[in-house]
Amino acid sequence: MEHYNMNLTLKVWKQKNKSERGRFETYHVKNISSEMSFLEMFDVLNEQLIEEGKEPIAFDHDCREGICGMCSMYINGRPHGPWHGTTTCQLHMRAFKDGDTIVVEPWRANAFPVLKDLTVDRNAFDRIIQAGGFISVNTGNAQDGNNIPIEKEKADQAFAAAACIGCGACVAACKNSSAMLFVSAKVSHLALLPQGVPEKKTRVLNMIAQMDKEGFGSCTNTGACEAVCPKEISLDNIARLNKEYLNAAAVIDK
């Protein structure tokens, strides 16, 4: 792999806090190595800003291995940037070339208010999980793990849905700011497993009700969410959620 250095122009969203209006600021960075990660490029920019006595850009990040789900930049009109199946922290600078201009914004959705610059509040996702994204089992003497055989294919599908990192890219990509891919991943993960069956009806109804309450929009199946999901969560999960929802809504006997 050939390495190269580049000079870039960045247009980055700056916003002091929740209530003040934001705006784009233009920055220039020089000698960025193609081996850097996108966030390391931001580290370089922030160091430069501190050196110049200016305020650095606030952004969320933590594990920088693509698994914690904390990083959340909307890069050139796409959540997490140009690479498929990749979080912002795993995006590397060889995706760009010398002279490029890169536009960086926060997630934009009513349910994810901006806290500062590129940082948003995603607690709505936690509240959706609180509404039913769990199996009600207390810690204690659970039965032997091998007493519940699970068809490998189902276990694999459940795992693929459970791989969701809760970053919110699906919401940011959706024209309606819908959280359907996120909710459907959790509903699928638990509905596919025998352990999740007893609560599957109330789970799907409650999670969807909470999703609506948080102000996420409706799903129109355009698939923008799937296209940008860093964990490649499949639209099939939304189909499964719809099936579960219809089942629960039509036949719940309460």
């Binding site: 190595s33 650095p56 999980i129 769990f134």
Partner: protein
């Protein structure tokens, strides 16, 4: 005086006897007791959820935007449990034995035995929660093997085991939040501990969104705040992982156990340049199927695939024929360093070795698949194609991650790897009940020092975090809280809360008013370089003495020349970081002091003065068979308390993986 409170009786009876006699708190009284849990990784989330289920009033805190972000999520390979599903001779005793031996005989027998006992319950609990572990075609749970053992006891979910376990614990936690048993405080960082009449009674924390300081009362406080690998700046830890909560507790009287015991993980993606912000692990499970080698010729500049088989040195298989590529982490790391230092390293920096999947991809997986499909005499292309499919299922996400970071395809060319700081076995000293030397203050998971001795075996961190949170603390905390049922919640207007908050405020004001020239990051990088060079994979007396002097000078410079932009009463990530780096600097000094005092090699702590003729770690059980528990006395001033390690069942010997 240190009292480890290890119950009397035979080793395998201790935990059962303890549980049978421990004090209980009745359900009505549980509702009157408030518990603070700091950190929401595997230990914190599982503890908060379990204690909430029991009926205690729990408050949980994390500095991230959601409890699900905690760095346990990044654990890849797996979690150990003595289930013996594979019928390969595993048992509680063997898991206990492997862990004590892997830790180079510097862990407490009683704690490790308890860990091995509850390991089986963890798997059952996680399955019940819906954790999607890998399964066989018959629908039963699958296992893989890890370093330092000769059985297959590791349960896993592709290369995302930590994520799946944490999400299980997170969901249990959110369920308790919904039920009103747990109150969750996200984007909050603990900045001090409040002690009243010798007992822990609360914390001071900073709301990281508004910058406000808050006072929170609890009848007891649990620190589940992880390890301190970020002292080294470059490590596999998350950017936010820090030691601040533990360090504040230490300065308020909690002893720090074995601070020098750090784990350098053998298989990480090598450093590319000064811009590097963190290092990425490639799971130890890859050593199941990857063979580690370097060229036999020094300074060989050919591409890996151009080096013929007979010119490759599979140095682990050569040096350790019995365990081969599956030797424990400390042994594998040192062996890689030895080869690179001797001039056999690969890649542009020559600070890397190869981890190569070709052999097993073809011979193990390719041939098995071909056999399953009835293909006789398959050609090489077919074997590679079939092998790739299996490897993709086992490790696909890791291979993808490697390619994104390096731009190289590990299915085609061997990975380049080098050791990196990964885990800290040291931590707050705790007794058998997980209580620190401060009354009512507990430490769980990586935050404590207890179970891994001088070296942790792979797939044991997840096991310990969940053991502490799900199965140990719910019992041991009752023994303390049973005597607290008459204590009414103390109003946070109490003068101890006020004094603690004022101290935190003063420190923040001091930091902000330095208005120097150098960034927090630049200080952190310099600290990291000192630590890596002089308190890293190999340590010696002279280097450690120099490091202590350098760190003291760095501390002075930090407190006179750091520049923190922004304001106090707003979201200010630079200020958050400054608070953490200031503590890392002090902890770095203690680590070097501890490494200097321990003039033996054991586990991850390799003192160059103490090695066998063939370069293996040489312990001195006659002089160092103890836990070092450091007591804070004042600025750069500590006194050493020793907890002798008494081996009743296992007879410590020089570790041998040959």
């Amino acid at each position: 005086m240190l009292d480890s409170k290890i119950p009397a009786g035979p080793l395998e009876q201790k935990w059962n006897d303890y549980k049978g006699h421990v004090k209980l708190v009745n359900p009505a009284n549980k509702r009157k007791l408030e518990i603070i849990v700091v950190g929401t990784g595997l230990a914190g989330a599982s503890a908060a959820a379990s204690l909430g289920e029991l009926g205690y009033r729990v408050k949980a805190y994390c500095f991230q935007d959601s409890p699900r972000r905690a760095h346990s999520i990044a654990a890849q390979g797996g979690i150990n449990a003595a289930k013996n599903y594979q019928n390969d001779g595993d048992s509680v005793f063997r898991l206990f034995y492997d862990t004590v031996k892997g830790g180079d005989y510097r862990a407490r027998e009683a704690n490790v035995h308890r860990l091995a006992e509850v390991s089986v319950n963890i798997i059952d609990q996680c399955v019940a929660q819906g954790v999607p572990f890998a399964r066989e075609y018959g629908g039963l749970l699958n296992n893989r093997s890890f370093g330092g053992t000769q059985v297959k006891r590791t349960f896993y979910a592709a290369g995302q085991t930590g994520q799946q376990l944490l999400i299980g614990a997170y969901q249990a936690l959110e369920r308790q939040v919904a039920l009103g048993n747990v109150t969750m405080y996200t984007r909050h960082e603990m900045l001090d501990l409040v002690i009243i009449d010798g007992k822990t009674r609360g914390i001071i924390c900073r709301n990281l969104v508004t910058g406000e300081l808050e006072r929170h009362f609890g009848h007891t406080v649990l620190l589940c705040t992880g390890g301190y690998g970020n002292v080294f700046y470059l490590s596999t830890n998350a950017m936010g992982s820090n030691a601040t909560a533990a360090w504040k507790a230490h300065k308020k009287g909690a002893y720090f156990g074995n601070p020098c015991f750090t784990q350098i993980h053998p298989t990480c993606i090598p450093v590319t340049g000064d811009h590097q912000s963190k290092l990425t692990l490639m799971s130890e499970s890859l050593r199941n199927d990857g063979r580690i080698w370097v060229p036999k010729k020094k300074d060989d500049n050919r591409k890996a695939n151009d080096i013929p088989e007979e010119e490759r040195d599979y140095y682990l298989e050569r040096r350790y024929p019995a365990f081969g590529n599956l030797v424990p982490r400390d042994v594998a790391s040192r062996a890689a360093k030895e080869r690179c230092d001797a001039g056999y390293g690969v890649g542009t920096t020559k600070q890397a070795v190869y981890l190569d999947f070709k052999y097993n991809l073809i011979n193990k997986y390719g041939k098995t698949e071909a056999g399953k499909q009835g293909i006789e005499n398959p050609d090489m292309d077919t074997l590679v194609r079939l092998g790739k499919e299996v490897v993709k299922e086992e490790y696909g996400n890791l291979f993808d991650m490697y390619e994104k970071i390096t731009g190289e395809n590990p299915y085609e060319v061997p990975m380049r790897i080098y050791p990196a700081v990964h885990y800290t076995m040291g931590g707050l000293w705790v007794d058998y009940e997980l209580m620190t030397s401060v009354k009512g203050l507990y430490a769980l998971g990586e935050c404590n020092f207890s179970d891994h001795g001088a070296n942790r075996l792979g797939a044991s961190a997840l096991m310990q975090g969940l053991a502490d949170g799900y199965f140990v603390i719910p019992y041991t905390i009752g023994n303390y809280l049973a005597d607290e049922i008459a204590t009414k919640p103390i109003p946070t207007s109490h003068k101890a809360f006020e004094a603690a908050e004022n101290a935190v405020r003063e420190r923040i004001n001091t930091l902000m008013n330095i208005k120097g020239k150098q960034s927090v990051e630049s200080f952190h990088k310099r600290l990291g370089r000192i630590m890596w060079n002089k308190c890293g994979m190999a340590r010696n007396e002279q280097g450690l003495k120099e490091a202590i002097e350098e760190i003291r000078a760095l501390k002075k410079e930090f407190w006179s020349d750091v520049r923190i932009p922004g304001e106090i009463n707003e979201m200010n990530p630079e200020l958050d970081k400054a608070n953490r780096v200031a503590d890392f600097i002090e902890l770095g000094e203690l680590m070097c002091k501890d490494a200097l005092e321990r003039a033996e090699s054991c586990g991850g702590h390799f003192r160059e003065e103490s090695q066998t003729p063939d370069g293996e770690a040489l312990r001195h059980d006659d002089k160092f068979m103890y836990v070092s528990a450091w007591e804070y006395k004042g600025d750069s001033d500590w006194s050493l308390n020793k907890e002798p390690l008494d081996y009743e069942v296992i007879k410590p010997t020089q570790r041998n993986y040959k």
